[in-house]
Structures are given as structure tokens and as C-alpha cells.
Amino acid sequence: MRRLLWLLPTLFGVAVCVFVLMRVVPGDPVALMAGPGASVEDIERIRAQHGLDRPLAVQFAHWLTGIARGDWGDSLSLGRPVLSLIGAHLPATLELVLVALLPACGGALCVALLLTHIRGAAVRAPAQLALNIAQGVPDFLWALLLMLALGVWLPLLPVSGRSDPALASDFETSFHLLEALWRLDLHATTDLLRHLLLPATSLALPFGALLARVLTVKLREAMAQQYVLSARALGLSRMTVMRRVALRNAWVPALAFGGTQLVFLLGGTVLIEQVYGFPGVGRLAMEAVARRDLPLVQGLVLTFSLLFLLVRWAVDLLLLWVDPRMRITA
């Protein structure tokens, strides 16, 4: 609850920062909009039309009151309401992150169990090496490598877009994957997953490797505890003890760590969406920054901040739920 109360002042701080920053960064959106044929009068008219001729404090107050009313302004370069643009693009990004999260967490769990269970260096060394590579190569490089490998050399998966443009399905919401699953439209689901596979894997690999490392360390620590020895003494197998006893203690700190890293996963979508031509908010942000689309950049930064804060809040709630000790501390 306390965190929720901090939400508004934090967002206000972010709003101030992004508003000031966008006006300090070199680049005049109006000069870009007017085009080389424009006269001085044309330029001034456009500036006035978008309220950019008013004092900064007035512009900020106008923007802020607009947000409170649900009017986030119009994009300068696209001429459309910022809120509707974000609403149309955000679901794609959320689905991408969700699909990346599942193999990252699942893979991390399997690798951690394997590395803790197997003691022989013959298996652990290559596994460690694979983890190093997965974590060391940045996501955008994974994107290019995977695209080359599975899109060009072995053309098994599509290399761009969110769905096949020839697909007959029409969606009522912007959550295409969730809607396709809900409607049991297996064809659309397959197509959407095929398009998600490469970008999601590119995001999942470094994140999953990091998570696997933390989980492995915590599992090993847990396996050295007295309660584990007691369980072993009761005759339970090493794997059973690991899964049923040690893992329950190890995954709490891993969850806390993963929660903080999740925001980087969200941030990573900006480059990944650009590489894969994926129509999410990351790609929208790249274009908005390049064109100094002030209202759109401000709206996007605010949305990302809100998402980060909500993710952190959700992870905290989850931790309180899974670990009773934290409730006492809280």
C-alpha cells in the first residue's frame, strides 16, 4: 500500500524529468514538421497550433492537467492521440515480454536444477560456458544471430512483424495472442507464436541466463542447509529434496532479483522491436525520439515508468505472498 502511495509522486517526478529533458535535448520538432518550403509565418503558426509558443511552465501545466483528464495530447508527427497510439502498441510489447518471460523462467529453473544436481565437471563446465555466452551476448546481437540462423540459413521462422499479413483473422482487441488463445483459434495462435519466437528468445536468453545463475547459487546454498540434510536422512532422493525442499527457499531471492531485472527486459524491447519490425511501443518510442515528437515521447516514458512501478509492486506482493517471513518484516 505504501508503495502504491509513492506511485503518484514518482510519476510526477518522471513527468517533470522527461518534460524538461525533451526540451533540453537539441532538435526542434516544429522545424522538422514545417519542412524546407515553409515560411517564417508557417513555422510560427505550427508552433502556436501545438501550444509550443507558450512558456514552459504553462505547457507543463497544460500537459499535466490533460493527463489527469485522460487527454495525453496528440502526436506531433503522426497527428493522432497519444493515448490511442500507446493503447494500440502496448499490448504487442506486453505479449512479447510475457512470451519471453515464460521460457526464460522455465529454462532458468531447469538449468539451475541440472547444475545443482549434476556434480561432474564434464557437464557443468559446458553448461557454465553456455550460460556465459547466453548472458554475455546482448539481446540485439542474439536477435541478429537468431534471425540469420532460423530466418535465413534455415528459413523456419518469420523474421519480422507480429503476424502473417496474409492471415485472415481479425482481432477485436490489441491483445492478439491472448484473444486468439481465448477464441481457441489455433491457426492464429500458431502464427502469432511463430512471429514471437525469435524476438522473445532474443530477449529471454540473457535474462534467463542471469536468472539461472542466481537460482543455481541460491539452490546450492539451500542444499547445504541443515534441513536439507535432515530430509536426505529421511531417505528422500537428492532430486526430490532439491525440488520439494531446497527450491522453495531458493526461489524467493531469485524472484526478488528477477523482478528487478524484469524492467530491463521491458527496456530491451526497444531494440528488439526495431530489429524484428515488431509493432510495439519500443518501436514507437524509437520513431518518436528521432522526430522529437514531444507529446508521444512524454507519454511513452510515463507509460514505461508506470509499467516499471507496477511490475516492482507486483513482485513485492508476490514475495509477501510466497515468503511469510517478509510479511513479518514488512
Binding site: A38, D42, G79, L156, P158, G277, A290
Partner: protein
């Protein structure tokens, strides 16, 4: 409790589904998993479908609303959906579009536009002169958000007589008729547009050779052939423009066979791709010039330094070595396809003359003239590499330039404020080919980098010249003068590479982009 209820509902839905057809669906799911690593994932792609991996996303389906809708690179998509008032041939020359006649009247204070009879909107209704008048009124209205106000804002009074709309101009605009062929200049259906309101992106109706089937912003646009189109029937039933901003991904699209055509790939990759079996390439010079704009500040006030800077650049070598041969060296702000192009204006590569000119001002390689040159990096093909090579050429004759990288938004800000560095590299497009849009706009007005009385006086006189032959001759003379004074250093005309599947016949357009209806 709420969560439990939801879980129950979802569970019930799926459990009942499993009870009824569990095995069948499970089998289907297994069968469907094959496309993950198997054959193409397309649902139903007819052989008559053309897939284009396009470099610029369409901002929306209103072609006259946002600054991005005036992006020259998206015009070829709008041309598939809408009819331009006046159309253009691949070489930039003009031909009838939805207008069959267009003419100046009353000492060029009025234009008369006659609409084509028999053209239909995609919903089957006839295209009328009322639609034409309404589209023009909307284009002239600043509240419409039309970014081409500097041209269309000069239209004032509209009169409708039969099939002809006459428009009085607030002031003389020599390129007014030519502007009716490019950038936001498309006819729209008044009734359908007003009825659709904010949902236009889903309900867009035009009178072009293709009708809208589906549009996903930043994703793709799918178009179907309009069988009642008044003009030649396009070869493909369906056209899909996929918006793929990254050049590496566009290369992957064509190499994997997912796309039939792509464009704007790096030149060295273009050379490799067009030699691959099953692929071919076509490259054509487009209406886009790479230019070094000079400002009258610092050492650039010295005419010897300016002229030396111009003569020290070996443009042919630049094109050959940096751009793999894909570029056409130019010496004026007019490309060969433009109306005022004069092939006799030359600024030859002459490093000895450059040294001599610099020596006359007391500069030498040991005591160089120092300046800053700004450039974009990655915005145009090999922009930074080209400027780095030029810096090397300048160094040899006695000009020491420090390279500063900026982006387009910063370039326009500095240009407007008059704060550009003494030399600044940027590109300049002009798909209508009129000199008022190249020499005129680049050398006069708020976006002119070089500001001097003689330059402004010479260009300003031409903005009022109503005799077309004299106007064109005047611009040629001005271009010659600017070349002699080295007020600007035009470098090259860009070449647009297009890679396509071998069985296709692609007609390149000097205006750029890919015109789907011209692909066979």
C-alpha cells in the same frame, strides 16, 4: 474471490472443450505445431500476391493529415490506394491522374482543374467534382493538419462549374500545379471520409487501383485489386506492404523468400543479392541529393576557401569508392531529371586550383583553414563515411575540418536558428522537379543556410516570374552563379537499390519507393 471465479469460468470453458473434442483438438494442435519449424506459415497466399518489405511505415491512411504523411517515401503506398490529382511517370514527368486537364488562368492568379468522368470510389459510388472541391478546400485549411500548407495554403476561393473546379490563389505560386502531383495531393471521398471520422484507418476508401483490405500501424497494409479502376489493371490481386525499418531485416526478408521485393538495402549487400540465383536488382537515381550546405560564417566568408572546398572534392571517386558506384555526381541543386537542370554547369575536381585559391588567402596544408563540418550518421547511405573521405580530400589541399555528428531534428533546429556549422551535410528531395523546391527553397527563406543579399535577390526575383521559360532559364543562371561563388556544394544524386525475385518486372520511379501497380 474474483480471481477464483474467473479461474472457474476459464477452467469450465476449457474443460468442457476438452471433454467434447479433447483428442481431436490435441491431434490438431500437434499437426499445427508443424508450421513452427516446417513449411511457410502463410494461411492462404495466392500466387497473385505481391509482398513488399518496405522501409518506412505508413503513419495512417489519411494522406493529408500529419507531417509524416508528407514523407516522400510513403507516397508510393498512398498512390496505390488513392488517385493523385495529377500523376507522374517513372521519370517525374506529369500525366493525368484523377484530373484530366489542369491549367493556369487569369495571369496565373487562378487554376482550373477538370475531373475525370467515370472514375469510381472503392464503394462503387462515382467520384465527383464536389469531392475534388472538398479535397482541395480541406488541403487549404490549416486546421486540417495538412503539412503542405506552404503550398496549398495559397488556395483561396473555390468555384465549381460542371466537371471543373477553379481555384483562385492568394498569391502566385509557380509550382502550384506541380504540387498537385505529390505529397498529400490525393482526392478523398467527402461523404465516406466524414462518416468514418476517427475510424478512417479501418474504413479508408479511395479511387486508386487498390482498395484497403487491412491496415495495422507499424505492421503492414494489405490491399486488394480494385476491379473497377478507371486505369490499367494491376497485375497482382493482393499487395502487402510489410513495414520493416531495419535494413538487415529487410535483407533477411528477401533472402528467406518471405518478401518478393525490398529496397534501401546497403549497396554492397545489394550487389551480393542481385547476383544470387532467383533474385535480381534494379537501381535508379532518385529525386534526392546529398549536399554540403555552406553558411556565411568563419572561413566560409572567404570565397577562395569556399571555391577551394568545392574544387577539392573528387565526387566521382566518392561515388565509386564509398557508394560502390551507386550515385550520380552533381554540380548544382538540380538533378538531371529536374526542369532546370543544366549539364553545362560544372565544378571540376581540381586540387591544384584548390591549393592555389587557398594560397591566395594565406592557407596551405601546413597552415590550414579550419572549420567544423556537421553530418548525419546512418541517416543516408554512407553519409558519415563520405564526409570523412571529404575531410581527407580537404586536408590534402589545406582545409582542416572537424566532423560533428548530428541528427535530422538537430539539423533543422540549427538551420532555422541560423546556427549551422560553416559546412553541414544533409540531403534535399524534390520529386516535383521544380527549381523553386530545390534552389528556391534551399537558398531563400528560413531554411536557407547561406544568407546573402545577392543570393536572396536573385532567387526572390524568380519567385515572381510568371513566364515559365524565363523562370527556368533564370534558375539555370542562378545555379551557375551559385556554382561560381560556391555558396553550396552539391555532391551527388542518390540511387535507390531495389531487390526483387527474378520473375518480377519492377519499374523504378525517380520519385522513389515501390509503386505496386507498376510491378508485373
Amino acid at each position: 474471490m474474483v480471481i477464483d471465479s474467473a479461474a472457474f469460468l476459464i477452467g469450465a470453458r476449457y474443460m468442457s472443450f476438452l471433454h467434447r473434442r479433447g483428442f481431436l483438438k490435441a491431434g490438431a494442435a500437434c499437426a499445427l505445431s508443424a508450421p513452427f519449424f516446417g513449411v511457410s506459415g502463410r494461411v492462404e497466399v495466392a500466387s497473385k500476391t505481391l509482398v513488399i518489405a518496405y522501409h518506412t511505415p505508413l503513419p495512417g491512411l489519411d494522406p493529408a493529415r500529419s507531417p509524416q504523411s508528407a514523407n516522400p517515401t510513403v507516397q508510393s503506398i498512398y498512390k496505390a490506394l488513392y488517385d493523385p490529382y495529377i500523376d507522374q511517370n517513372p521519370n517525374l514527368s506529369f500525366k493525368p491522374g484523377i484530373l484530366t486537364k489542369w491549367a493556369w488562368q487569369l495571369h496565373k492568379s487562378r487554376i482550373a482543374l477538370t475531373i475525370r468522368r467515370g472514375a469510381l470510389w472503392h464503394d462503387g459510388k462515382p467520384v465527383t467534382a464536389d469531392d475534388l472541391a472538398w479535397s482541395l478546400v480541406r488541403a487549404a485549411d490549416p486546421a486540417s493538419g495538412n503539412p503542405m500548407q506552404f503550398a496549398f495554403g495559397k488556395m483561396a476561393h473555390f468555384q465549381l462549374r460542371g466537371d471543373t473546379v477553379t481555384v483562385e490563389l492568394k498569391e502566385f505560386e509557380p509550382a502550384m500545379l506541380k504540387w498537385l502531383a505529390f505529397l498529400t495531393a490525393y482526392i478523398l471521398p467527402e461523404q465516406a471520409f466524414t462518416a468514418a471520422g476517427k475510424d478512417w484507418d479501418n474504413q479508408a476508401i479511395g479511387s486508386g487501383p487498390y482498395r484497403l483490405d487491412k491496415f495495422e500501424r507499424n505492421g503492414f497494409i494489405r490491399l486488394k485489386r480494385f476491379d473497377k479502376y478507371w486505369g490499367p489493371k494491376p497485375a497482382f490481386e493482393t499487395v502487402i506492404y510489410k513495414f520493416v525499418p531495419d535494413p538487415v531485416t529487410r535483407v533477411a526478408e528477401i533472402e528467406s523468400g518471405s518478401a518478393d521485393i525490398t529496397l534501401e538495402v546497403p549497396y554492397e549487400v545489394y550487389d551480393r543479392l542481385r547476383r544470387k540465383p532467383g533474385l535480381a536488382g534494379v537501381s535508379t537515381p532518385v529525386s534526392d541529393l546529398g549536399i554540403i550546405f555552406l553558411s556565411n560564417k568563419g572561413v566560409m566568408r572567404d570565397s577562395n576557401v569556399r571555391k577551394a572546398a568545392a574544387h577539392a572534392i573528387d565526387k566521382k571517386t566518392l561515388v565509386q569508392k564509398v557508394l560502390s558506384g551507386y550515385g550520380v555526381p552533381v554540380d548544382t541543386l538540380q538533378a538531371p531529371q529536374y526542369a532546370a537542370y543544366d549539364p553545362t554547369i560544372k565544378v571540376p575536381y581540381d586540387p591544384a586550383l584548390a591549393r592555389q585559391l587557398l594560397a591566395a588567402s594565406g592557407f596551405s596544408p601546413e597552415n590550414p583553414a579550419k572549420l567544423i563540418i556537421q553530418t548525419t550518421r546512418g541517416y543516408k547511405p554512407k553519409d558519415f563515411e563520405m564526409i570523412s573521405a571529404i575531410v581527407g580530400m580537404w586536408r590534402k589541399v589545406g582545409i582542416e575540418a572537424e566532423v560533428e555528428v548530428y541528427d535530422i531534428a538537430h539539423h533543422f533546429q540549427l538551420l532555422l536558428k541560423g546556427e549551422l556549422a560553416p559546412a553541414a551535410f544533409y540531403n534535399w528531395g524534390n520529386a516535383i522537379g521544380d527549381p523553386s523546391t530545390s534552389t528556391g527553397a534551399a537558398m531563400l527563406g528560413p531554411f536557407a543556410a547561406w544568407k546573402s543579399d545577392d543570393a536572396e535577390r536573385r532567387v526572390a526575383a524568380l519567385t515572381l516570374e510568371q513566364d515559365e521559360a524565363r523562370r527556368i532559364a533564370g534558375y539555370k543562371a542562378v545555379d551557375r552563379y551559385f556554382a561560381q561563388q560556391a555558396y553550396v556544394i552539391p555532391l551527388l544524386q542518390y540511387v535507390q537499390p531495389i531487390v526483387h525475385k527474378k520473375h518480377l518486372k519492377v519499374t523504378p520511379f525517380v520519385a522513389g519507393g515501390i509503386v505496386a501497380q507498376a510491378v508485373k
